[in-house]
């Protein structure tokens, strides 16, 4: 029963959550409360762990809650539950898009959507950078009034080196990320970066 409940709860989270991982966490919190799947204190562990481990945040969170509530079987059913809606909906929608690709209205819509998507990715950079490149929110008055303490110079340097590596050497993103993970671990482990 526990395993079925997990599947159903996470299927609903996957179905009604728009905007991916971070935007889905509040919805997840409500459902966890409603069904008593987890202690409140445990939720902050979930937040931390699902954001620092690799992979889609919502999948991380589902696996964590499932494992906590009903062991390995629970982890499997929560994870499948949260992934399934996106999978089914995208199968249907991309099939429809194939069919109406040449329709004038659909083409017009994409003419507007494409530049907006570029803006969307640019805003993702702003969200990812918060708490990493700067302490706190990137878009705030602290940008001008916070002084040097507000910025994280090592992280900014890593970002700049990444851009240079990508443009000048056409380095592979995975290699760059692994290298910067090593740099970050060394600096933090030896106490040079906090």
């Amino acid at each position: 029963m526990k395993i079925l409940l997990l599947f159903w709860v996470f299927f609903k989270i996957g179905l009604f959550g728009f905007g991916g991982g971070l935007a889905m966490l509040p919805l997840m919190y409500q459902s966890i409360q409603q069904f008593g799947l987890m202690e409140q204190a445990e939720f902050s562990n979930l937040l931390a762990l699902s954001q620092v481990t690799p992979g889609p945040i919502a999948v991380n969170a589902a696996t964590y809650v499932g494992l906590n509530y009903a062991g390995f079987g629970g982890a499997v059913s929560a994870t499948i539950g949260v992934m399934l809606p996106a999978f089914i909906i995208m199968l249907i929608v991309s099939r429809m898009l194939d069919k109406y690709k040449t329709n004038r209205i659909v083409q017009g819509a994409f003419e507007g959507i494409r530049p907006v998507t570029v803006g969307l990715v640019a805003s993702a950079m702003i969200f990812v950078s918060q708490g990493v490149l700067v302490k706190g929110s990137l878009i705030s008055m602290s940008m001008f009034t916070g002084g040097m303490d507000y910025y994280n110079p090592i992280a900014i340097l890593i970002m700049v080196v990444t851009v240079v590596l990508m443009l000048a050497v056409k380095a592979r993103p995975i290699i760059v990320m692994l290298a910067m993970a090593g740099v970050g671990a060394l600096l933090s482990g030896t106490g040079l970066m906090t």
Partner: protein, 199 residues
Amino acid sequence: MSMGGQNNNRARVCLRLFWEFLKLGLFTIGGGMAMIPQMQRIAVEDNKWLTDEEVIDCIAVSQSLPGIVAINMATYIGRKMAGFPGALCATVGVGLPSFVIICIAVLLLDNLSDNPWIVGAFAGVKAAICGLLIVTVMKLGKPVLKSPFHWIMMIAALAAIAFARVNAVWVILAAALAGILWSYITGAKSHKEDGRDRQ
């Protein structure tokens, strides 16, 4: 080509999809949006699964549908390349690392977020992802930002989402409407261009 050959080829594509999306799920921290630079690289540059324009459509559609963005992107590309089996392989591939790593993390490393080496590694990756996203914006923007209309749309979207915290779904819906209107306003002109393209 014989049926056997086709099946063989499709199985190979499925395997490739699984492997590439497994790496995508394994090496990106910060969720779906952080995956875009690496996804752009594997889908457009490495495997030629999508064109410059198709990868933008993939991101746009994935963002505007409910559910996990990474799963949406995996399903979109997987289905395009190898139908339902391809969609399944890509989706399982992108989700599997999360599942395995969380299971291991919960069982073995209770204090994962207290270890300075691990915290530092994650901070390094996140800083690198900021740089990767900047490069990706340049790559995605190049084929798309062709006129003042496109530039205005891009900047307006950035302002709405990053500054005014408008939900991305509304921004995409508004953009679709603006695009339809724009295509009707400039209709006569682009119709002529369409005609020329077909010849």
